[in-house]
Point group: D3
């Protein structure tokens, strides 16, 4: 039973995240989407809503689960859930450069491996933060986030 | 009539910015230097002064105009003014890496193209933030910003 | 009258090239696709055929012309035809890294500017050489090159 | 049953390759090391010997197999053997930059995914070509290749 | 008498820093580790403690001294102490990209040269900030910082 | 007595090389410019002429010597001459990427350190190969190579 752990803040989930999660679901028996959050800091969406967005968007993918974690290292989560590996999507070289020391540190800490998947180039410009910034100024982000996220951003005036 | 839109915060303008603006002025009929600012956040210089610095430094370039915008996406400004394209200077690979998703997002939003020009290598170490940091500690930034900016930084104890 | 010069070997033209040429045609009054070749070295396709492939693929774009040059610097061609600038498409950081010294050299030689456009991410994996390698081993390259190129590669057993 | 396909020329295998293969063997049920070669070009070692070097070095890893292929696309090999994915080791950004279009092309051709693993930093300077160059000039490459490769290089005066 | 100046915040020193300092000590007659700090901002450790950590860890290296500076440009410190050059360790391309404009600016200001040394790949994942983040969540950072730092972090519940 | 070893093929020396050599001469007591060549392959200029070009261009720098080596590893040369370190100029990220494994390998072989200096941005577009290519097509390379090299290239119809 192979289990890929996909960590992130997912605040909110984008079609870029869903591309990686969906492809991970074809490569591993199970995919655990792990939302890492800091209860002391308020994000854009409460963690329960972030979970709900992903659960709804991945409802058709049987092996995908979503859970939230705080105050812990992702490598400890990985050990607890018996993850085969961490799985990260890379949109380009800056993502790669950022992930190299993280993967090295995680391997140094517990031996866990990080596998990388290249994000679909068609979503390379999409990130949670850029989508929120565009939404805040009235840009049309349809197709960049799932519809419930679109509605929730609109409802908050974003 | 070709019009290049050069967006930035220009707080303050440097000789690196002026290199790109001046070269853009030889390539396009008009260049609109668009200062994007957030009225809720105070920059180093008020936006009127940033405009004045650029207007004075580009007075000899007939096709160059300067204007400030806030609360709007640059692509909406581009559409409103009928810009042919966005034009960005690149000092090196980090600039390139930063601009790739921005250009992709802007194209996805309205179809506007972003064209890139390589900054003059002789100004590759010059940025508004680094110049201000150097000035704050008494470094000699003559030749890195136009003289009025130099005087204004000095007057503020920077 | 603005004129963008798009140099390359185009052996053969791909949909990646055509993406850049087509977008250049919306930004400049004229686009000259300049095929640089070395008469002493045989390419995959003779230069006349490379021209014909591009002419056919760009027939609907009125401002686009194609010509071949050999034994000359592209900057001398640019001066002769009165080009506003060189225009290059970038598929990613390796292209950027390769083009930086070329653009610097060309500017040092004659003052000509090079403008860069980001290739459509959907074509980022497409290059003449990779397409030919795939074709040689029987891979399906439909949609990566124009149909006449597809037929010509097939006719040659590529 | 998960199967990772690790393509390469492995001429000869290095401890960098073996690091990736060994870690892949902990992540997938089976690992197929696929030596791609061109019968028309002579490599440093005949393909049978390259196979033997890897088989000997991975004898203790039950799920690892080695095979050689020529005249075929790796994606066709992947389909034939039922590979879950291609797996590549990355020593740094140049490897990443090189692999991005390859992975994009392979996915475009057959939908096969490429997963990436970061090479152990302790082997980042080791490649088949650099090791051979060092050996040719009498450098001490002990610890960079398995002992039988060391002996074979020495026997050939490399 | 050659003197290399190694600037940084060293909050706290890691084995990555010590690798670079130790190797610098074999290349230059003297090495001055310069802790740059801002008295208005509290770091993780007071500057006296940062000095003590480095002094203890480099006690066996006769040519190494440690001092703290604030409110000054590093190039002015370099001139005052008669430094031959600034010396920086690079863990990879992001470090390089960050240092290029800094080195250019420092050279423009006073002509001081910056020399770069590649960090030991075995420490490429180690930075003060990542180590502190890991420690905060209970990760095992033994071997990543000197023992007194380990104890001090533990004593503070980090 | 500090000695920096600057290896390269220098076929021919450019102002970019001379920038690095000249700055090295201010940082180290002695600089040995080591021309690595392969007697079996003919370069553009014979190695004696390459030496002469550099000797003439560095005549005013007392600590600089030039010598040619073949069939040996640069680290063995370094050991023989008692070099403090290898010194390399970097024009940008591609140079950095290329040098990382070389420096790692050289350190692994003999412990020799490699120090890097950033090339003057004004010479970033200058390389022996690009200069020769430009010269071959009649481009004006004055200021990119020393005058005797200019004359020698012209005399050979380059």
């Amino acid at each position: 039973m192979s289990l890929a752990l996909c960590p992130g803040s997912y605040d909110p989930v984008t079609v870029g995240h869903l591309d990686v999660i969906g492809r991970a679901a074809t490569l591993f028996d199970e995919v655990l989407v792990a939302i890492l959050h800091n209860p002391a800091k308020q994000g854009t969406f409460p963690v329960e809503q972030r979970i709900a967005f992903i659960e709804e968007a991945t409802a058709a993918l049987p092996g995908v689960r979503v859970a939230a974690y705080s105050g812990r290292l992702i490598v400890d989560v990985a050990r607890e859930v018996g993850a085969t590996c961490l799985l990260k999507g890379l949109r380009g070289e800056p993502d790669f450069a950022y992930e190299v020391p993280m993967a090295g540190m995680n391997r140094a800490l517990t031996g866990i491996e990080t596998l990388f998947l290249l994000g679909d180039p068609a979503t390379a410009h999409i990130s949670s933060s850029l989508v929120k910034e565009v939404a805040r100024f009235g840009g049309d982000i349809r197709g960049m986030v799932p519809d419930p996220v679109l509605a929730a951003l609109a409802a908050r005036g974003l």
